[in-house]
Symmetry: C2
Subunit: 189 residues, 2 copies
Amino acid sequence: MAEKVELPVTAWAVLGQLTFGEELSGYDLKRWADQSLAFFYWAPSQSQIYGELRRLEHRGLASSRIDQTYDARSRRLYAITEAGQQAFEEWIQGGEVEPVVLKHPLMLRVWAADAAAAETLVPLIGRYITELSERARLAGEHALGAERNPAWRFPRVALEWSERYYRDEVARLEWLIERLREEGVGTAE
Amino acid sequence: MAEKVELPVTAWAVLGQLTFGEELSGYDLKRWADQSLAFFYWAPSQSQIYGELRRLEHRGLASSRIDQTYDARSRRLYAITEAGQQAFEEWIQGGEVEPVVLKHPLMLRVWAADAAAAETLVPLIGRYITELSERARLAGEHALGAERNPAWRFPRVALEWSERYYRDEVARLEWLIERLREEGVGTAE
DNA sequence: ATCCTCATGTAAGCTGTTACATGATTCC
DNA sequence: GGAATCATGTAACAGCTTACATGAGGAT
């Protein structure tokens, strides 16, 4: 039996995208990631994706070929290998889950605020709520948009979870504004 | 007027801890961060904290002195400077908030799962729920524990927010288990 | 005596970003 | 003809972690 493959989670995310069976370019992967993965897993930069693809190929978990369909304009297409498929299954069923990373600069500000700062934060929270509602809407839209193919069952579940995540975040921030008001913030003298 | 100070959010987090007025060592900061900041902002490693403190001092935002209270055993204590206080206020009220970083390896697994993998994920989700409940409990405990001093009003609000965050996450994962069941996962044949 | 915690760091390396370069193609 | 998009990458650097080194003091 092959040894357990060690990779950063982001590399697994890229490899995971390839498990859906299509040949994809780095460019494709970035665009797709921005519309799916990004809802629950910070989307890596374009250049990192290219780097991860090179690493995956180097380790034999992915293979690539150059597509020349339209004469000029070439693109490198990646596909998962047998070894990659197996390593991915071992990762996903490995029984250990890496810790969730949350960095919430807005809550950091609330934490460190004084009364004056809290006052200026309230409208920022409001703006952020608008953004999050839009993200929730988008996640829901993509969840509905996913084909009714069994292969898309679990991506759809993850997107539904994301929609809930952002709606919960909105509700929590509405609570926060109320809670700040209790502390005398936002009640103009 | 001084120019806007540019720093990574983690540096502001460390500086923010110093705004509470006490002189603190890198060691103190790490321990405190683990019990407060860590609920909503990924706690940096010990060595990073030392590095950030050096940077803050180098930029004139913090100052340090060596404490020799108990003869031997020396520790370097940091305090925020006037310039640091001002830069921090500008950062907190600057009108722009850095994006939230979320990396959720568990949801990544759900997203990329097939039926077999989903089956093995369910007990993992269950274990994770237990962990999160404990974190919610801890956040609530720390919120109640915060002194009833006006200086601790906003840290308390942030901790109350955190308690809600983890309780919401628990509820969402309970929903997730139900949702996976709908997809035929966890219903033994 | 030994082990654990307190306390401060350094070195090496990995993860990840931004900015840039390049050239083809499509759209207006 | 010019602008935007497609596509692939490199170089430099910033952020952050792990592992290690060191030594004192307190606990058993």
